[in-house]
Amino acid sequence: MKARAVPFLAGGVLLCTLAGCVRSAPDLPAIAAAPVTKASIAEKERLAKCGALADALNGNKAEAVGLDSEIKSNRGQNQTLGYLAAAAWPLTPLLLATEGDYKEKDRLDALQAERDRIYAEQRQYRCPSSPD
């Protein structure tokens, strides 16, 4: 292999490795044809259900905030290592020290799916809109 090709190869490896670092926003849930409301449910039962859903939502959001800050805390290190590896190809192995946070990102996606399910149920039960 020509020596000139090495930096390009390293650059390609670098970009391919780092491209995995971004996490896209999860897809939106399908649009419901018409919201199904549980009109026949007793008021007491409705309030209890809405309370339980609100609690579940709060727990979900708290966990997501924790995961977000964990991912954020690794960002500075990842950028520094990425920059060094891009600036000098012999430093490419530094990329092995970057934190992909893949487990956390998968968990965030799962939490979002769970939140979508809770929002749909809140709509069914006509619970008050939850503040962000």
């Binding site: 780092l18 971004v22 950028q79 939140r115 929002y119 749909a120 809140q122 962000d132």
Partner: protein, 150 residues
């Protein structure tokens, strides 16, 4: 003849230098903006109708409600799903924020005549092939039904 080729060679070298200078100037000027944003809308039939009707009063951006949840106490019609991406231009620019995504989503919702963006969700900032830091967000643009609408 030889002189002619030399002249042509000099001219081409000069042109390449000029082109390089222009590219560098462009790159420097592009660096003045720290972020770039791009958006996308996937309209529903109601959204297309709204676009065709060219909403006489486009909703003011600052009046648009934006929530990560759903709006359960008002009926609405879905205009479409919208996406916004914000990317930083250089490694040294600050990372894009959720507030930047919110702003882009609101701008897009405003153009669609929406009253609110619901079910907003965000990705996590990370490196892509095109940027050292990119963040995206999605939401559903909705318009509230009037009280007398079914």
């Amino acid at each position: 003849m030889k002189t002619g080729f030399r002249f042509l060679g000099d001219f081409m070298a000069l042109s390449i230098r000029h082109a390089a200078c222009l590219i560098m100037a462009g790159a420097l000027l592009a660096g003045c903006a720290s972020h770039r944003a791009y958006t996308y809308a996937d309209r529903t039939a109601a959204g297309n109708a709204a676009a065709d009707a060219k909403y006489p009063t486009r909703t003011q951006v600052h009046n648009i409600i934006l929530t990560e949840g759903d709006i359960t106490d008002r009926d609405y019609v879905v205009l479409g799903d919208i996406t916004a991406n914000v990317a930083k231009n250089t490694l040294f620019d600050p990372d894009p924020t959720r507030e930047m995504i919110d702003k882009e989503l609101k701008k897009q919702a405003s153009a669609m005549g929406a009253d609110a963006v619901i079910l907003v969700r965000y990705g996590s900032v990370g490196v892509t092939l095109m940027s050292w830091g990119e963040l995206d967000g999605k939401g559903r643009a909705v318009a509230f039904k009037a009280d007398n609408e079914g």
